[in-house]
């Protein structure tokens, strides 16, 4: 069999207990439920053992990087939402940090803390989707329903704050799109009160479960050296014992002012990745708690940068300059000085980076996203070679890929 775009991939003869047999080539996906989207993997099998795995990507490629080059800096924010659809606020943040770095503008503290709050809620919601879908892959149906129940609460908070459940575009260049609405503290407090008990609930369903342990323990082991060599980041790297977290190593958006731990494990298998993610949810709750206390109730949520950040409604009605700036921002945009900037954040899946190059025009010369799913997926063949075919499902699940992020 030689499919388009794949290396020579033929059947080979292998020795088995019952004599020589031919290997089988199995096409997994792109419509397989366990590939979490449209990922296709070609597996060469000897019985149930994987001899070779070749991922085939691009089914969800939408050319976001090319489209960004044809939009002004503010317009491109809406595209970033649609890359990693479980982490739209994180994508907004990475993009905005890069543009802000390019422009050399500072964001008010109130907006920084609120950004942290939103992004940490997003991390919890992303981990919940991961936990639910991964549990379904492993045959634990009920966890999915519980996880989505709590995720719904987070999405309701997003809808309340930003007016949208998923593609919020809430984080903008220079601050936030809107002032946080009255009563947001109570809404988030209510969620914080409920959530720790709910995480205990998931753990009581899964952590001690013999089937869960049997499917995950000792499966898909990736040592720390290999993980670094394959550029893996995020929970996959931390489950191998390396406490590398962009929030701690290169703090952004005032993360250095927050107290939290970076959970690590040393087993480096699928079960360790599960434990790390559950522990991260609890850490995120701690950060959200601190962010509520830190966020002042009054103050600007957008920096004062005329010509870059749109002026408030009030100003536009009283000042002529504000009206002119408003018109110019939304027609021709603003032009950062020529240069390049790279900003990265710790997304639920690892380091999400944004590299922007400006040539002094109102549209980016180049806008590249370092998506963690794409780079982590690269290690999949190494993880699954020599394992059973059922372990492939566990490995794809615990790498936690989002195909929108892989293909962009």
């Amino acid at each position: 069999m030689s499919a388009i775009g794949l290396p020579p991939f033929g059947q080979e003869t292998v020795e088995t207990a019952i004599g020589p047999t031919k290997t089988m080539v199995l096409n997994m996906g792109p419509q397989h439920p366990s590939t979490h989207g449209v990922l296709r993997i070609l597996l060469e099998l000897d019985g149930e053992t994987v001899l070779k795995a070749v991922p085939d990507l691009g089914y969800l490629h939408t050319g976001i990087e090319k489209s960004c080059e044809d939009k002004t800096y503010s317009q491109a924010i809406t595209l970033t939402d649609r890359m990693d659809y479980l982490n739209p606020l994180g994508n907004n943040l990475a993009y905005c940090l890069a543009v802000e770095k390019l422009l050399g503008i500072e964001v008010p503290k109130r907006a920084q803390y609120f950004r942290v709050l939103m992004v940490e809620l997003q991390r919890i919601s992303s981990h919940l989707v991961w936990l639910g879908t991964h549990a379904i892959d492993m045959g634990a149906m009920s966890v999915f329903l519980y996880c989505f129940r709590e995720r719904e609460e987070i999405l309701k908070i997003f809808e309340f704050v930003a007016g949208q459940r998923m593609m919020t575009s809430y984080i903008r260049i220079g601050g936030l799109a809107l002032e946080p609405p009255t009563g947001w503290v109570e809404r988030v407090e209510k969620f914080l009160k409920m959530m720790p008990g709910r995480i205990d609930e998931y753990e009581s369903l899964l952590t001690g479960n013999r089937i869960w342990q049997g499917r995950l323990k000792g499966v898909g082991v990736m040592s720390a050296e290999d993980a670094v060599a394959y550029s893996m980041t995020g929970p996959t790297l931390r489950a191998a014992g390396l406490a590398h977290d962009v929030r701690k190593a290169f703090p952004y958006s005032s993360y250095e002012e927050f107290q939290f731990d970076v959970p690590t494990r040393t087993e480096a298998d699928c079960f360790a990745r599960y434990l790390v993610r559950v522990a991260e949810m609890r850490e995120s709750l701690k950060i959200v708690r601190q962010a509520i206390d830190k966020t002042p109730s009054e103050g600007p949520v957008r920096t004062d940068a005329p010509g870059i950040v749109p002026p408030g409604r009030e100003k536009m009605k009283t000042e002529m300059e504000a009206l002119i700036y408003h018109f110019k921002i939304f027609t021709e945009g603003f032009a950062p000085p020529p240069g390049e900037a790279y900003a990265s954040i710790e997304s639920p899946r690892g380091e999400l980076g944004c590299f922007i190059a400006s040539d002094g025009s109102p549209k980016p010369l180049r806008c590249h996203f370092r998506s963690p799913s794409f780079i982590n997926l690269q290690a999949l063949p190494k993880l699954v070679t020599g394992q059973l075919i059922s372990d492939v499902i566990a490995c794809i699940g615990t790498i936690d890929i989002v195909l929108g992020d892989v293909d962009r």
């Binding site: 794949l6 691009g58 990087e65 670094v228 980041t233 790279y342 980076g353 590299f355 180049r366 370092r370």
Partner: protein, 173 residues
């Protein structure tokens, strides 16, 4: 902001210059990022040194991407983002390539993680990586014509809008 050949501004640059005097063409410090511009011939050696020298230890290649500055020459700029996990440092390596000869040494022997990043650059910009184990298109179909992230490739693409396409492409720079 630019320092070419003069005073070494930071420890990483000084250490690399101590290793080889022609390792760095230019140092750019911009918005807190350090970028070293490296001649094409020594890229793989410099990358290896960045990873191995005890004081540097840039063990994680986080990102690699390309910029197309068409119609300027040298047209392509490859940017590699390195992170040192033990030292908590960042470094960007840049290599400039002429549009007529977009060939560069692959960094897969130094970081296996460069594999898909380089395939993506090949797919989108048509840069050839010598020594890459598996240089195929990654996101686009195998029979795709052209390299979409090049500046002379129209945003609308060539396909699916037959007659109108030429009109649009002619008006674009």
């Amino acid at each position: 902001m630019t320092d070419s050949g003069g005073q070494p501004t930071n420890a990483v640059v000084a250490r690399l210059r101590a290793w080889s005097t022609n390792a760095i063409e230019e140092v750019i410090e911009y918005r807190g990022d350090t970028t070293i511009v490296v001649p094409r011939k020594v890229l793989r050696d410099v990358a290896g040194q960045c990873r191995d020298i005890e004081e540097l230890r840039f063990n994680l290649l986080t990102d690699a991407t390309c910029i197309d500055r068409y119609p300027l020459e040298p047209r392509f700029e490859l940017n590699y983002q390195l992170v040192s996990i033990p030292n908590k440092k960042k470094l960007r390596i840049r290599v400039k390539l002429q549009g007529s000869d977009p060939v560069i040494d692959s960094l897969v022997p130094v970081w296996p993680g460069a594999n898909w990043l380089e395939r993506e650059i090949f797919d989108m910009f048509g840069i050839q990586f010598t020594g890459h184990p598996d240089l195929r298109r990654i996101l686009l179909p195998d029979d795709w014509e052209g390299y979409p992230l090049r500046k002379d490739f129209p945003v609308e693409g060539y396909r699916d809008i037959p007659a109108i396409a030429t009109r649009y492409t002619r008006s674009r720079p």
